[in-house]
Symmetry: C2
Subunit: 335 residues, 2 copies
């Protein structure tokens, strides 16, 4: 069935089912000129938004609608996680070309609603419209955080420990498989593929950091460690020193890099879209936070380097040799 | 200069200048993972979003960047106006094709910032990315309103007077000029063109209605009177009767319709994008509200019909003859 057959309002009726996950604070969901909801007193409102464009961010013939919808919400949730916030309401704008079947659009919303349901987020509104060529999805997410618990990029201090909540580089390896048409025919390759297509936003980890005064700065890894840590360094007017042997590299990425002759440290440094969090920890509280993190998540908090006053980013190799790293990563206009 | 030359972060630096209009409640503007701001206690948060796609909503060679930016914000402000709200923060996502000069993108932001400045709205964030073919703009606006003053589509009551805050059909006439390449070579045609390209969101009128308990329902005219009034009727489980001779038709639209042989009442009924407000007024308070509206805005509040219990929409012609009107208007999948 095509969109022309159901029309804009028919589509809205189809996709708006199951969008209201949590009624508590909602006054108007989909269906009026604007959505309306209450914010808890004293909370800071957080807003983030991300625009995904066919042929730039995804290829329609290499993704399912479900995975596309899931990821378009996940990347925004990750931004709320990086601020230490609770995600509350999502808004989905979608522009649909004529040749896109309505089933694909419904799958997109299934992906969005599945993830939204898992993290207790409402889909409260958005926009549906046509497009001549490319499928376009813009998701905006509103969250909230206590003012004192908000995590920003500019809070890093010289001597802070740089920590990471999960593996780096896996997503880039998954992208390599997709772009080069390499079948994910082993558990190991399927793991890497999934890291790219169904990333897990680290919302609980962000909440954990938000409750710890020893966490000074935080960002999520969307453009790659060197790029995103570069934002923390620049905003905090600081530098950073990383240690190659401390990079959190999964065994799956190691075997992928062996097989395809890549450098896993390079993947960890400049691979984007991992959606783990990087934070900086007060050096005297790092041990306690690391221990509590392990207890809470049954997963280590990887300590990968330290904040310096040098104004540049460097990485120390296994033999102690040091090189400067330029903030590399994804630039949407330079590819 | 092209986007490739300045890069994504260079562009963000350029366009984020002058985006912070009102510092009061803002904790983080452009530059972190999410924007952060405080909401006044007891206020309802309103959110609306609109996606504009090249070749569906605009043609790049028939618009200036300024006008495109202005309108992409205006249509969202109009939604906040229709809820009776104060607009507060805007978020702009933009996907830019390679062949779009950076000057055009800066013009878009000039248009946005000019209107934002006029209505005291911050541009607090968004997203910038690439696009293969079409220029894409998604704007989301956050506003607030007192819970008791919120205006919804579902509040109309049988016997209510239907009122409109300005002329209808002018914008469609302006669109006719653009689409048919007719030069706007008189004051009258320029007026119609401007009604289409630089619509004025009726925020103050919405605030006025919000403060009046006698105003029961409200919507803005984006898809056309018959379509938008149809939303009020459907949501309120009511019908509506309009009067052809009471349609607010500008003298410029009358002379345009004479010249090009169109029916001005048809233009008023089904022309979209006027961004006036339609509201329904308690019949016993209508006189006072109309008088106060005239005093406040030096412009009449046009009383165009009444809410009925018929479940359908009709229009009475000048001789008293009645016809049923189907909710027509813009469907983005059916053109």
């Amino acid at each position: 069935m095509k969109l022309k057959d159901v029309g804009e309002f028919g589509l809205i009726e189809k996709i708006s089912r199951g969008c209201l996950i949590r009624r508590g604070n909602v006054i108007k969901a989909i269906g009026d000129d604007a959505a309306a909801f209450m914010t808890d007193p004293g909370m800071v409102t957080l807003v983030t938004t991300d625009l995904l464009v066919e042929r730039v961010h995804f290829l329609r013939n290499t993704t399912t609608g479900f995975n596309l919808g899931y990821k378009s919400l996940a990347v925004n949730l990750s931004d709320i996680a990086a601020m230490g916030g609770v995600a509350r309401e999502a808004f989905v704008s979608i522009a649909i070309p004529d040749d896109c079947p309505i089933a694909f659009v419904e799958e997109i919303y299934d992906g969005i609603k599945t993830l939204a349901g898992r993290v207790d987020v409402n889909v409260l509104g958005g926009d549906t419209t046509g497009s001549k060529t490319d499928l376009i999805i813009n998701v905006a997410v509103i969250g909230e955080v206590l003012k004192d618990g908000m995590l920003c990029r500019d809070g890093a201090k010289t001597g802070d420990i740089i920590a990471c909540t999960g593996f780096l580089g896996d997503s880039r390896a998954g992208l390599h498989l997709i772009v080069n048409g390499i079948p994910a025919d082993s558990d190991s390759l399927r793991y890497l593929l999934n890291a790219h297509i169904l990333p897990e936003p680290h919302l609980k980890q962000g909440r954990f950091f938000s409750s710890r005064p020893g966490v000074h700065a935080c960002i999520d890894v969307s453009d790659g460690l060197s790029c995103d840590l570069g934002h923390i360094a620049r905003e905090s007017k600081a530098g950073a020193r990383l240690f190659a042997e401390k990079m959190p590299i999964s065994r799956q990425l190691r075997s992928f890099c062996e097989e395809f002759d890549f450098d896993p440290v390079d993947y960890a440094l400049s691979g984007g879209e991992d959606y783990t969090l990087i934070c900086t920890l007060s050096s005297d509280g790092a041990d306690e936070i690391t221990g509590d993190f392990m207890k809470a998540f049954d997963c280590p908090l990887y300590l990968v380097g330290e904040i310096t006053d040098s104004g540049e980013m460097t990485i120390n190799g296994p033999g102690g040799e040091m090189r400067t790293i330029a903030p590399t990563g994804w630039d949407h206009f330079k590819i």
